[in-house]
Amino acid sequence: MQPDALGYFGEFGGRFVPEVLVAALSELEREIESAFGDPAFWREYESVLAEFVGRPSPVYEARRYAAPASSAKFVVKREDLNHTGAHKINNTVGQALLARRMGKKRLIAETGAGQHGVATATVGAKFGIPVDIYMGAVDVKRQALNVYIMQLLGATVHPVSGGTKTLKDATSEAFREWAARVGDTFYVIGSVVGAHPYPFMVREFQKIIGVEARQQCMERYGKLPSDVVACVGGGSNAAGIFAGFINDPEVRLWGVESAGEGTQTPRTAASLNAGTVGVLHGSRSYVLQTAEGQVRETHSISAGLDYPGVGPEHAFLKESGRARYVSVTDDEAVRAFYEFAKTEGVIPALESAHALAYARTLAAERGPEHLILVNLSGRGDKDIAQIRGLSRPAS
């Protein structure tokens, strides 16, 4: 669906930003309208995705991971095979093309684990646009390898020492930096969050996941999946794969949040399951917050899901019942990570392991006529050091 004129999906979304940014958001909105209606824009986007990113990404059946519990087909969309190792690049290619079209001289981006930062630094290098990345000081330490990769790609990484020194604060800092240089700077937001038109724009750039996957299911199996499963932090990979099936009411859509240590504990990142409606980073959606409205510190074993907000379209899909949002704990995600690696020869990102964990439970409830499609949003190389540091053995 399209958001309304003020950027709302139902009662979620909108534009809650300082006035200094409004003109830039309006400018972006106008550019999107022109670019999205221009076949040449999409041709270039698709050609970069084909030649540089390696799309279309394949789907394959994870038979050994799903067995023996499942008799349903367990099909995985391989976003992990994209250049830079995750779905993030679909979005940064799109936004870099827009930035170039608008004549912007600099890209800025927030990053948590560093995946979106790497994807932004990559397109900055490819298109010759300088890049500044804002990253929480804690994450800079935790993700030293990604910091080095971004620097290798020519980006400047700015550690952010305010607040909790993580993704939330990096995002706030990127907004502030954008406010200071709003004329020549393009803010590349990494998920379907932020003020209108970002949630809509990012979804449109991730929609290719769902469009391809739908076509691949029809060609290979002659039918649509019964269920589509994706992890949700901000929610861009889920928004992308859901978009391909949103008009197929028989396809059930499942968003899997990070419960962390449990949705009833303070150590969670499940905004839709444990949060309340509020305003964060420019839009109204579900937020993990105190009763007074202070944003809470979150926890997830997966840095990419460790965010107190969620895209407004997901809030709308939850309220409308079109998609259902469940959660998986740190332990369940880690177990899926190990098992998927051992049974399939593919190391999934910890984010994607949340989707894999829930999908296997779901597969056990479905009959052989069903097909379950899981978005493997990224590869897990980035998580190896963290997994290795866990006390539990790899077997």
Partner: protein, 258 residues
């Protein structure tokens, strides 16, 4: 209703300092408010701490973090305002939308009115989203000054001016609050010319004002000047009477509205 508008005098320059309530504790805030009232403040913006202040630079963000660390809440700030407002110039609450939204807009407006606040500024609500809050506050005769940025196009600036209550908060330059970067004089003059043509409401300039020279530069151009981050820097690290002494010394140096 005209409580805020009445602080602006023809040919004068109203001085509107901003402080963060509860930085580092509420007793210090009491002492600072009294000092500001005695040293020429025509109105005072009272910041209510919020953990994710998108419009604020490091000085105010850090002040908010200190207040939050000390357990200061919206309710406590309202209680402080209620206790002190009678002996102070008009008080303007300054905070972010999520705190107001969670409180409930009508309940917040009623509580702010009961506390004696003259105005409320919420910098992260765009013109398109302003209506429910403006109406709720209007029902209690509380003014809601709106911000106009250098990037605001003329036609939009005129619409903001029309909706703004008490005065129009003219942002002196791009970016967030903070004294690190001075006002951009030429775009500021141009924006003020646009606003003068569109409205008779008073204009107050803020963001990046920290020195006597910058205050003097606003004199004759606008009707009021807002000083926040530099004032917070002046008392940061001090408490109680020592903080108030530093505030008096800094404000006397600015010689605003004198």
């Amino acid at each position: 209703m005209a409580r805020l508008e009445s602080i602006f005098k023809p040919g004068g320059l109203a001085f509107i300092p901003y402080i963060m309530a509860g930085d580092p504790d509420l007793d210090t805030t009491r002492a600072i408010l009294t000092a500001l009232a005695q040293h020429g403040a025509d109105a005072i913006e009272v910041g209510i701490p919020y953990g994710d202040p998108l419009a604020d630079g490091p000085a105010i963000a850090a002040a908010g973090a200190r207040a939050l660390a000390n357990g200061v809440t919206l309710q406590k700030v309202l209680a402080l305002v209620g206790e002190m407002h009678a002996s102070l110039p008009p008080l303007i609450l300054f905070t972010y939308y999520n705190l107001v939204y969670q409180f409930g807009l009508p309940a917040f407006a009623r509580a702010a009115a009961d506390a004696g606040a003259a105005g409320v500024i919420v910098p992260d609500v765009s013109l398109e989203e302003i209506e429910p809050l403006r109406l709720a506050l209007g029902a209690h005769a509380i003014d809601m000054p709106l911000l106009v940025a250098p990037s605001t196009p003329p036609e939009r600036a005129a619409r903001i001016a029309e909706q703004s209550g008490g005065f129009i908060y003219v942002v002196s330059r791009l970016g967030v609050t903070g004294s690190g970067r001075a006002p951009d004089t030429e775009p500021l003059r141009a924006q003020i010319a646009v606003l003068r043509a569109a409205t008779k409401k008073p204009l107050a300039v803020g963001f990046g004002i920290s020195t006597r020279e910058q205050v003097d530069a606003v004199r004759g151009l606008a009707d009021g000047v807002i000083v926040g981050s530099a004032l917070i820097d002046a008392y940061a690290g001090a408490r109680g009477e020592e903080a108030a002494r530093r505030v008096r010394a800094y404000v006397d140096g600015l010689s605003a509205s004198v």
